[in-house]
Amino acid sequence: MSDELKKKLKLKVSAIQNGTVIDHIPSENLFKVITILGLDKVNNQITFGANFESQKLGNKAIIKISDKFFEDDEINKIALIAPHAKLNIIRDYEVAEKRIVEVPEEVNGIMRCFNPKCISNFEPMVTRFKVVSKAPIGLKCRYCEKITHEDQIVII
């Protein structure tokens, strides 16, 4: 079988007519991505899979969502936990556009401040961070002014 044919067959298995395929998600963060994007609360048809082989990540997950197209600031929220994610925008079974995620300038309400003495860990309030470095990611809390580093990120 030619590679081209294999690829086509693979795609057919769970091909979607219109929507978005999010690829290159670290498997361990699949469900966090689903939560952040609110996919657990929508009626769209969704298929996902984890633990696929990936040269870049070792191990990746994929999500396919029918009839859903993301705005930049919506999709960039997942950059914190899936910085290498790639989006294929599908129209009429064809890849109409490819996009990558970008770490946003500000992150609001998605993650906790790592500082156990920060007010945001005690009050029912929206956390707010300014991104002070992008690779590796560093986020400065607007309240306690401490920096949460990439490996300390905990999604709410």
Partner: protein
Amino acid sequence: MNKKSLISITDFSKAEYLRIMELAADFEKNPNQKLLEGKVVASLFFEPSTRTRLSFETAINRMGGRIIGFSDAGSSSVSKGETLHDTIRMVSNYADLIVMRHPLEGSARYASEVSGVPVINAGDGANQHPTQTLLDMYSILKTQGTLDNRNIFMVGDLKYGRTVHSLLMAMSEFENPIFNFIAPEELQMPHEYKMFLKEKGIRYFEHKEFTSIISEADIVYMTRVQKERFADPIEYEKVKNVYILRNCMLNNTKDNMRILHPLPRVNEIHTDVDSNRKAYYFEQALNGVFTREAIIAHTLNLK
């Protein structure tokens, strides 16, 4: 919202620092200016800090204001589980200004977002204590005649000491400061502050002791080296006497040199220093009242 809170020292510009200094000098000449007549100031101390509270409340009283509030969270609704949000919303309906101290970091910033009136941060955990920094600056200006070209020695706990971090940020706005950091290995000035100075092209030097170099200092800012900060108690025992200032060390110091300390002191400044005219820490505390009057006047646009 057009209200002016003071949460972090970097909320103010250099021009505002100078304005506060000018107002503080004016309040020092005449402390009893009834600019708060008919106004109510909430003094909310979610953790006790008698020194800071008395300084603020003296400032408010001298300005003719009325005070409501509490001096520790035990006597307030906080102990009944009320959120900070609700406490601040309620109090900001009653008062024209809120002065607050709280053990949690970032609490003052959050309060300023929730409050309809200005908030002055009187300390939020280990994070910020901007009125201390402004009174330190006023003390430097008063004793040196200028905030420019000062050689500032910071001694002791430079890692956790919020007062030295804020003072560093503020003094870096002025001409040609030089910083000398004197701290044990475990308590050195954090990397981010050194990077900040590097980027601004400001000179700084790091030392393990200061007897040999103290003659260069214009300001010696002492802080306390606490035993609890050391993972290994033996390390503390090794360094505990290195960061103590004694009168005999002051012989060859500059005439204009002054010793500052945020107080309370434990043993890091020997009592034999107190009678030396270069010891300035008690006057420094008094400057706090004038500086806080200035800050209140500035945040409420009273002058």
